[in-house]
C-alpha cells in the first residue's frame, strides 16, 4: 500500500533539495574561501593557492590566494603576509598594492594578502566596532572599490568550538580558549589540526618549500598602543632590523625596534624564524579601528593615522629591510622590488590614487 506523502513532507524535501543544490552550486554559501577584489598587475607571474602547500585546505574557508611575482633575474625569496589579523587593514592594503602595482626585478616575491581568509569574511567586533565591515576606496578612475574589513580571529563557525583553554602546539603554552582561532598564536601549525593550525602549517610549508629568505607579517595595533610603529625581529634578523630602523629614521619614520621573546610561542616571526633559515619580521602600524575608546573610528582618514600613511610605513619598512638584507646576503640571493611611483607619494596622496 502506497503511503500518501503529506504536503508538508514534500515541501520539506524540496527545500532540502534546494538547499543542497545551492550549496553545491555556490560553495560560497557553504564552505569555501572568501573572495576579494584584488587586481593583479604586470608584476604577478602566477596565481597559486595556499592549498597548493597543504591540499587539505582546498575548498575550505582557510584557503587563500598566493600571488607569485617572479623577477627576471634569479635571486632570493620574500614572503609578504597581510591579513594575519584581517581587521588590521593597512597590511592587507599594502599587500594588495604590491600585487596590483609592484614589480620584482630580482628574486621572487610571494604575496598572501589575506593570510587568515576565514577571519577576513566579516568583523565580529573584536575591538568594539562591528559596524566596520567594508572599506570603501575611490580610485583615480572614480570607481568605488570595496574591501572586507575582517575580524582578528578565524570565524567560529569555521572551526571546532574553542576549548576552555587553548594549549599551543607543540609548546604547550596556555592561552585563553579563543586564541585557538588566532593565526599568530598557532605557528608552526599542524597538517591535521584545526583550520587555523592548518593555515599556519601551510604557510610554514611554503616558507620551507620555496626557500623563503625574508618574511614580513604585517599587523596593526591601536593608535595609542605601545606597539604602534613597532618592528619586531626574530633574533637572527635583528641586525637587519637595526640597519633598516636607522635608515627609516632618516626618512622621518620613527619605529620602535624589538626582538622576539623566547617564551612567546606560536608567533610567525618566532616559529618561522626558529624552524627555517628565514629572516622573520613583524610590523605594526596604528589603526583607529582597534581603539575601543573611539566612537565611529575613521579607519581611512583619521588625521592621526590615515590609511595611506600606514600603508606607506609598511611598504617603506619592507623596502628598508630588503635593501639591508641585500647588503648582508650573497648577491645571488638578492631581492629587488619596486613600484612605478615614488613610495613617498603614498604618504601624501589617497590610497585610491595608486590602486588599479
Amino acid at each position: 500500500m502506497a503511503r500518501r506523502k503529506s504536503p508538508l513532507y514534500s515541501l520539506g524535501g524540496w527545500l532540502l533539495l534546494f538547499l543542497l543544490l545551492l550549496g553545491v552550486t555556490f560553495p560560497g554559501l557553504g564552505l569555501g574561501p572568501t573572495s576579494h577584489d584584488v587586481r593583479p598587475g604586470y608584476g604577478v607571474s602566477e596565481l597559486r593557492w595556499l592549498s597548493d602547500y597543504l591540499p587539505a585546505l582546498k575548498g575550505t574557508p582557510g584557503d587563500t590566494p598566493v600571488y607569485v611575482m617572479k623577477g627576471k633575474k634569479e635571486g632570493g625569496v620574500f614572503l609578504l603576509l597581510g591579513g594575519t589579523h584581517p581587521d588590521e587593514i593597512a597590511g592587507i592594503m599594502a599587500a594588495i598594492l604590491a600585487v596590483e602595482r609592484g614589480n620584482v626585478s630580482q628574486g621572487t616575491v610571494f604575496v598572501i594578502p589575506h593570510a587568515n581568509n576565514s577571519a577576513s569574511r566579516h568583523n565580529n567586533g573584536h575591538w568594539g566596532h562591528p559596524e566596520l565591515q567594508w572599506l570603501e576606496i575611490t580610485t583615480s578612475f572614480g570607481e568605488r572599490r570595496h574591501f572586507h574589513y575582517g575580524d582578528r580571529l578565524t570565524q567560529p563557525e569555521d572551526q571546532v568550538p574553542d576549548p576552555k583553554e587553548f594549549v599551543q602546539y607543540p609548546s604547550g603554552e596556555k592561552f585563553p580558549g579563543y586564541e585557538a582561532r588566532n593565526l599568530n598564536r598557532n605557528y608552526p601549525g599542524k597538517p591535521d589540526g584545526t583550520l587555523t593550525q592548518q593555515v599556519c602549517f601551510a604557510i610554514l610549508q611554503l616558507v620551507e618549500k620555496e626557500r623563503v629568505d625574508v618574511v614580513m607579517d604585517m599587523h596593526e595595533s591601536g593608535i595609542s598602543s605601545r606597539m604602534a610603529y613597532m618592528l619586531v625581529c626574530h633574533p637572527r634578523a635583528l641586525q637587519i632590523g637595526a640597519m633598516a630602523a636607522m635608515e627609516l629614521e632618516q626618512d622621518g619614520i620613527s619605529i620602535k625596534l624589538e626582538t622576539a621573546r623566547k617564551e612567546f610561542h606560536g608567533l610567525s616571526y618566532r616559529e618561522l624564524g626558529d624552524r627555517t633559515g628565514v629572516y622573520a619580521f613583524l610590523m605594526e602600524t596604528p589603526n583607529p579601528g582597534q581603539e575601543p575608546n573611539i566612537d565611529h573610528p575613521d579607519i581611512i582618514h583619521d588625521p592621526r593615522a590615515p590609511l595611506n600613511h600606514r600603508v606607506y610605513v609598511q611598504l617603506k619598512t619592507i623596502f628598508a629591510l630588503l635593501e639591508n638584507y641585500n647588503l648582508v646576503s650573497p648577491p645571488e640571493r638578492a631581492i629587488r622590488v619596486s613600484f612605478p611611483f615614488p613610495l613617498e607619494k603614498l604618504d601624501t596622496e589617497e590610497l585610491g590614487a595608486f590602486l588599479r
Partner: protein
Amino acid sequence: MRRALYLLVAFGLGVALTLPAFAQEVQTTSIVSFEQPVLITSIGQSAGAMMAMVLAQKAGLSSFVYKQRASLKDVEVAKTLIAVLGASGKGLGAAGVDIDSEIAWGKKLFAHAKELKIPIIAMQIEGEVRRGPMSDRIINALAPQSDYLIVKDSANKDGLFTKISTENKIPITFVKTALDVVPILQEIFPAKEKGDMNNG
C-alpha cells in the same frame, strides 16, 4: 655645530680631563677620545645595543665586540665600554631577567669597568620610545656613572639628560637621529694608525 658647542660647554666646566685619554687628546681636534677594543652592550635589553653595533660597523671601528648582555670577563678585554641604556619588556623576557636584577647587573658591570679604569660611554639612541618608567630607572641609576653621554634629542624632551650631565659634570653630545652617531664614533675613536703615530 651644536655638538661642538656642547663639548665646549663641557670643557668650559673644567670636566672631561679626569681620564688619561682625554688629557692626551686635548691638543688634537677632538676633546674626548677613547680607545679600542670596544665592548658594546645593553643595559635593559632593548635593541639599542644592536643599533650601536651597526653604527660601530658603519663608523669603521677596527675593534669592537657586541654582546647583548655582556659578562664581567667581556669587560676585562675591552678598553672602552659602550652601554646602551633602554629597557625592553620583550628583551628582558628573552634574557630571562626582571628590571631590578638588570639594574643590579648594570651597576655591577659599571663598577667592574671603573675598577679596571675602563671608560664608559652611555648611549640613549632610541629616543623617546625608550623613556618609559623602566628605562628611566636604568637611566637614573647608570647614566650618572658614565664618562660620556651620547643621547638622542627626543629622549631629552624633559631635560633629564641635560640635568644628569650638568649635575655630574659628564660631557654630553646630542644627536637628532641614530645615524648621526657615526661621525661621532669616528671622532672619539681615532683611527689606530693615527693613534700609534701620536704615541710614537
